[in-house]
Amino acid sequence: MSGKEYNPSEDKLVIGGKEFSSRFILGSGKYSIKLIDAAVRCAGAEIITVALRRANTKESESILDYIPKGVTLLPNTSGARNAAEAVRIARLSRELGCGDFVKIEIMRDSKYLLPDNLETIKATETLAKEGFIVMPYMYPDLMAARDLVSAGAACVMPLASPIGSNKGLATKDFIQILIDEIDLPIIVDAGIGRPSQACEAMEMGVDAIMANTAIATAGNITLMAEAFKQAIEAGRKAYLSGLGRVINRGASASDPLTGFLRD
C-alpha cells in the first residue's frame, strides 16, 4: 500500500467472496435493541452475529426483527457442544432463512466458554462442503488454524482473551503467528474490552474485530460504538501505512554501525 494513495473505499474485507467496507463485526453475547442500533449507526457494522438459539423465538422480541436491511446476518452455533450439534444448528439457520454465513462456536465448558478446536475443525469441514461460508471461533493455535484452512473455512477467528472478559489481547503473540502464517482473514473475536485494544489488534494486521460486551456494557453505548469505529479505522490505517520502527536500544542509528566498511 505504501507509495499508493489510500482509498478507504477500495480497502475491503472479503469473506467468502463477499465484500465489506466495515471491519467491525457485532458479536452476539449481550443483546439489546439499542446495542444493535448503535453498532450499525455509530460503529458502521455490516455484519451482526445472531445466536440462533435466541433468534429461534416465537414472539416479537426476536433479535432478527431488529436487524436492519442490508446488514449481513451471521448466525452462530452457540449452545453446540460438539460438531454434530453445530452442524444441526447451522442447517436450521439456513432453513430459517438466515443465509449461508455461519459462525461456528463449539463449547464444552460452561465457565470460560472456551472453544473446542478439534470439534470446530470437524464442523467446518462438513459445513464448508455443504456450501456454508464458515467463520470458526477458535483458540489461537497454528496447527488448528491450518486445519481450519484445509477444512474450507472462510476466515479464522481467534479469541483475544476469554469471552466477555474485556481483558484485551492476552493471546497477542499467538494471534500474530496466525496473521503471519494464515492466508485467510483473521478476525479477533472475544475479549476485546477497549477501543485501544481493538486498535492494537488492527495495527498488528488483524483483518477485523468482533466485539460485543465492550460496547454493550459501556456507560454510553453510542459513544463507545463510535470510539470502536474510529479505533479500528486508525489501527487499519496504521497497519497499512507500515508502523514506524521500534527502536529498542539507544538512539536511532543515523550513523550506521557498518558505516566504516569501505567496499
Binding site: 445466536a51 414472539e59 460452561s110
Partner: protein
C-alpha cells in the same frame, strides 16, 4: 420466633393421625435416612463428602472485615473468599458486594433477564416434609392433570407468550410416574422451546428417558444440606434419603441433561451454611462436568395452606441479597433464578444485581392457569404448594423489566 410446622388435618383417619404423631414425636419410627430404598441408583461420587466437609468446617463467625475486603478485591473469588462474603462480617459491605455482583452479572449476561413459568401437573405426594403444602398429611385438594387437561394448561400459558416452562409434580412415583412425566414433556415440546423439570429425584436412565422426551434441565432443591436437620424435617417417604437427593443433579448430567439447578430452602437451617453448600455443590459438579450449565435458586420458606405460621425465620431480604451477591461473585457464570416467593419490589431490584431469571404468570396450584390468566371461575383446581408473593403476569413482568432498562428474553435455547 420458631416455625410451627405440625398441623393435623381434619380429614385424617385415626390410624393416619396416629402414624403422623408417631413420626413427629418418635424418631425411632422413621426410616433410616442413610439407607437407599429399593430401586434407588447408587453412583460413585465423592462430591457430597467434599461438600459436607467444607460446610462443616465453615465457621461464619471466624471471618473478619479484612477477609471480606480481600474477597472483594480478589480477581476471582476462592472458596475461602466465598465463605467470607457469606459471613456476618460482610453485612456492612452489602452495597459494595452488590456493585461487584452487578458488574459481574453484566459481564457475563449483559442486560438480559430470562422469563419462565412453572406448570404444576400433579400435587400428590408420598413424603411427609413438615414445611411443604403438598406433604402427604396436609389436607388439600389433590389433583393430577390428565393429558388433555395438561395440554389445555400448556396452550393457555403458551398463548400468553411464554416459551420456557418448568414442569413440576408432587413427589409421588405412584401418581406421577416417569411415563406420565415423559408424556408431559412430549406435549410441552409442542408449545414451548425450553422445558425444565422439577420432579422427585430419579435414576440416571430415567433422566435419560425424560431428556429424550424433550426435557433438558433438571432442578432439585436439596432443602437443607444439614443432614441432621434434613432428617428432622423429612419424616417419611423417598425424600428421607438425603444422599439420593444430593446425587440427583449428577445422575441428571449422567443421563444427558444439559443443565442442572441447585438450591437450599432458606430458613430451614443455618442459611449461611446452606447457601455455602448449595453453591459449592454446583461449583464441584461444574468442575467435574465442565459442559454442564448450572444455576442456583434461592427460595425462602413461605406460608402453606393450613399453616400460615411458616416463614423464613432469620433470613431477611438483606441476608438473601447478601447470599445472592456472594453467589454471583463466587460463580459469575451461573444462572440465578428468583421465584415468585419474593416480592415484586425485591425481584425488580435483584435483577439489576445478580438474578438472571425470574418467573412470571405463576400459579403453584394445579390446572388453574385459565382461571388465573382470564379470571374465569375454576372450582376444580388442585391446591397450591405455597403462597406466592409476586403475582405479575408475563405481560406485566415484561413491561416492568423493560422499564428498568433490561432486556426480557423468552428463549435462549435451541434443541440440538
Amino acid at each position: 420466633m420458631d416455625n410451627e410446622f405440625f398441623v393435623d388435618g381434619a380429614h385424617l383417619s385415626e390410624s393416619a393421625l396416629k402414624k403422623k404423631h408417631m413420626l413427629e414425636n418418635n424418631p425411632a419410627m422413621r426410616d433410616d435416612p442413610d439407607e437407599f430404598k429399593a430401586g434407588m441408583e447408587k453412583i460413585s461420587s465423592d462430591v457430597s463428602l467434599l461438600v459436607l466437609k467444607e460446610m462443616d468446617s465453615f465457621d461464619p463467625l471466624s471471618y473478619t472485615e479484612k477477609d471480606v475486603r480481600a474477597a472483594l478485591a480478589a480477581r476471582s473469588a476462592s472458596v475461602e473468599d466465598f465463605k467470607a462474603l457469606l459471613s456476618p462480617a460482610a453485612e456492612p459491605f452489602l452495597e459494595e458486594m452488590a456493585r461487584k455482583a452487578s458488574a459481574l452479572t453484566a459481564d457475563h449476561f449483559g442486560n438480559t433477564v430470562y422469563l419462565f413459568t412453572p406448570l404444576y401437573i400433579a400435587n400428590y405426594c408420598d413424603n411427609y416434609c413438615v414445611y411443604c403444602g403438598f406433604n402427604c398429611y396436609n389436607d388439600i385438594h389433590r389433583l393430577r392433570l390428565d393429558y388433555s387437561q395438561m395440554e389445555k394448561e400448556m396452550s393457555v400459558i403458551a398463548a400468553s407468550g411464554m416459551e420456557e416452562i418448568l414442569i413440576l409434580t408432587g413427589e409421588s412415583r405412584k401418581m406421577s410416574d416417569i411415563k406420565y412425566i415423559g408424556e408431559a414433556c412430549k406435549l410441552a415440546k409442542k408449545y414451548f422451546k425450553n422445558i425444565g423439570l422439577e420432579i422427585y429425584p430419579v435414576n440416571s436412565d430415567e433422566y435419560a428417558y425424560l431428556n429424550e422426551c424433550g426435557a433438558d434441565y433438571v432442578t432439585v432443591f436439596q432443602e437443607t444440606y444439614d443432614k441432621s436437620r434434613y432428617s428432622d424435617l423429612h419424616l417419611l417417604g423417598h425424600k428421607r434419603v438425603w444422599q439420593y437427593r444430593f446425587d440427583a443433579q449428577e445422575r441428571a448430567l449422567k443421563g444427558g441433561m444439559r443443565g442442572v439447578a441447585f438450591s437450599a430452602l432458606l430458613g430451614l437451617a443455618d442459611a449461611r451454611k446452606d447457601a455455602f453448600a448449595t453453591a459449592y455443590h454446583a461449583y464441584l459438579l461444574q468442575r467435574k462436568y465442565p459442559h454442564a450449565e448450572i444455576s442456583l435458586s434461592c427460595p425462602r420458606l413461605r406460608p402453606i395452606i393450613n399453616n400460615d405460621k411458616i416463614s423464613p425465620v432469620g433470613v431477611g431480604e438483606k441476608q438473601l441479597c447478601q447470599i445472592l451477591c456472594a453467589y454471583r461473585i463466587f460463580l459469575p457464570f451461573a444462572g440465578i433464578t428468583v421465584s415468585s416467593r419474593e416480592s415484586a419490589q425485591f425481584r425488580n431490584g435483584i435483577v439489576k444485581i445478580a438474578a438472571t431469571k425470574v418467573s412470571a404468570g405463576v400459579s403453584t396450584g394445579i390446572g388453574d392457569h385459565e382461571s388465573k390468566y382470564s379470571g374465569k371461575e375454576n372450582k376444580e383446581g388442585g391446591d397450591e404448594q405455597f403462597e406466592i408473593n409476586d403475582a405479575r403476569s408475563l405481560k406485566k413482568m415484561y413491561e416492568d423489566i423493560s422499564e428498568e432498562g433490561l432486556q426480557p428474553v423468552l428463549n435462549d435455547y435451541i434443541d440440538v
